[in-house]
């Protein structure tokens, strides 16, 4: 069967989460020549409708991007037990659904540590998108990383809003970043989807550093992007299609952390000049410790608190 993907309402060009999946899709298509059917719903009703339409036409596996789709996927997956679904960022317990979740806290810990090393003011910022546990998980991991390097550092945290629009509000992102800069922060991590664009822009405009999220966003404002906390949704999508093609697709929960290469920090030409050899070796060291379990990063979502 042909594979398919349903993006969430931010659309596949959100420069971040959905775009990551899109990159995976592209990669798969260019490698195998198999077209992946894409669908971008406009409203809640269309999410389910789109899933259903794809399922009816026999597309499988269908990758659903984002926790917003969990209830729709659950309904449709029940109605089409022979179709395989993979949902990213949410867990659904059905025999034909694969749930892919990430250890965002581990990746965030890494970039937090890096932020602390790069900061001259010992104050760093975090701009979250929508105020949901998932985003708090980023923030909590980040904070732990910062404190691990500089225990006395200040971590300013702001959420953009409490609705889906918070992932798509660069104006507000830029205002939030500017307010954090004015309070002394000189590195800011945006885990805010499209809102991040405004954060990076503000950093660029004010000559401060920013950290990207989800995709490798280092190229967006080369020179002031310290790094990106990559969450390899592209890999997740790519692997789903690959495994479905070779028959190794399995339902159940797939957890992708540092060890699995599901999350990481990004180093490329765009930020090479910002990362000293020292910093690099330090980070690789910390990275190793997390993978080895020497550093335990607290997962906000395990108890909905950030006590570590």
């Amino acid at each position: 069967a042909d594979p398919a993907v349903v993006y969430d309402q931010a659309g596949k060009f959100d420069k971040s989460f959905n775009e990551g999946v899109y990159n995976g899709v592209k990669k798969y298509t260019s490698e195998t020549g198999i077209q992946v059917r894409e669908f971008e719903p406009k409203n809640e009703a269309q999410v389910e409708q789109g899933l259903r339409r794809l399922a009816k036409r026999g597309y499988s596996p269908i990758v659903a991007v984002g926790f917003n789709m969990s209830s729709a996927v659950e309904k449709v997956a029940k109605d089409f037990p022979e179709i395989h679904f993979s949902i990213i960022d949410s867990v659904i317990d059905l025999p034909n659904v694969q749930s892919i979740v990430f250890k965002e806290h581990e990746g965030s810990f890494l970039v937090g540590a890096l932020a602390a090393m790069a900061s001259k003011t010992d104050a760093v910022g975090f701009v979250g998108g929508m105020d949901i546990p998932l985003i708090r998980k980023f923030g909590c991991g980040y904070e732990q990383g910062v404190k691990y390097v500089t225990s006395g550092a200040t971590v300013l945290q702001n959420m953009t809003g409490s609705t889906g629009a918070a992932f798509n509000d660069p104006t507000k992102g830029s205002e939030l970043a500017k307010s954090q800069f004015s309070k002394g922060a000189d590195v800011v991590f945006a885990a805010a989807g499209g809102t991040g664009i405004g954060v990076y822009q503000a950093a660029k405009d004010e000559g401060k550093l920013a950290i990207g999220v989800d995709s490798n966003q280092n190229h967006l404002q080369a020179g002031t992007m310290l790094t990106s906390m990559v969450k390899r949704v592209d890999l997740a999508a790519y692997n789903t299609y690959k495994s479905a093609a070779d028959g190794s697709w399995k339902p159940g929960v797939v957890v992708l952390g540092l060890a699995e290469g599901g999350v990481d920090w990004a180093l490329d030409d765009n930020n090479a000049s910002l990362i000293t050899a020292d910093m690099k070796s330090n980070i690789q060291d910390i990275r190793g410790k997390i993978i080895a379990g020497d550093i335990q990063v607290h997962d906000y979502m395990s108890d909905n608190t950030c006590n570590y």
């Binding site: 669908f39 406009k42 009703a45 269309q46 917003n68 109605d79 949901i132 546990p133 609705t163």
Partner: protein, 365 residues
Amino acid sequence: MSEAKVPAWVNIALIPFLNILLAFIVSGLVILAIGENPIEAAGYLVYGAFGYDEGIGYTLYYATNLIFTGLAVSVAFKGGLFNIGGEGQAYIGGLGVGLVCLALDHTMPLYIIAPLAIIGAAVFGAAWAYIPAYLQARRGSHIVITTIMFNFIASSLMVYLIVNWLKEDGRMAPNSRTFEENAWLPYLHELLSPLGIDIGDSPLNLAFIIALICCVFVWGLIWHTRWGYQLRTLGTNPTAARYAGIDTAKVTIWAMLISGGLAGFVGINEIMGVNHNLLLNFTAGYGFAGIAVSLMGRNHPIGIVLAAILFGALYQGGAELAFEIPTITPEIVVVIQGLVILFSGALEHMFKDRIEGFFIRRAVA
């Protein structure tokens, strides 16, 4: 002078048809401009909306919302009031539905919850219309501006309530918990399948029937009650209304209450019929689309049903179209909607004067 010589079908059929035709032609040009074939696109659109059971179900599901908001706009309009607050009233109406369902779904059966939810929708929607109505009637505040403001206030209020009070702890999306199944309005396909009728799996639910009942209700109310008589008098000739001893402020307020209540019923369809939880932005512009529906439908329930189905078809067909031709976004439907409002509302005199002139000249000659 002019009217008697113009046949009735010109006003109720020909002119709306030309308006929508022009809207479609311009939209066709847009599609052409982005390098797609408008004819092919129209084919997908029509097939998606009417070509198969499920598509029809979706069309009617969208139409349900539009019937509610279209009726809402038209009731106010009959009284000479322009209610562009349908969006906010629908939103708050949904809050009423959601609160009833959340409060009772553990303890009560559907046949108790449903009527209470309907009342909840009407009362909350009406309450949201009350303040602009009161301010218009008693203090002369322009209802258009106040209803716009109330749309924004509704939207902030709902975010506040849902995020801070109604959201389940630990849940990602800003939704309330999902209602128990006994607070779900039955889907029509579920109701009909025991009768051996298969209409495909779509979100079309009992709210559609409620919408049709509302049409009859509005029709009776406007054309067959004293109150409707007073409303129409006020809407067409306020001086005559005062001459007739009609309490214009009271009629104004009631017109808006009914209008708001009708808009609130969108919540029945969306919250109780389809989403089964209280969520953000479920109104998705239906309140504004209701303006187009009521303009197209010439403010008459039958016209509104037809216009709502037309727009419902555009929504559903548009989604289908976007699915089949990814370069065409579903927003093309929004463009068509806007063009319909432009041609049948703002530019109504452009065609009307000319066509009526033509018929008058023909009648004279």
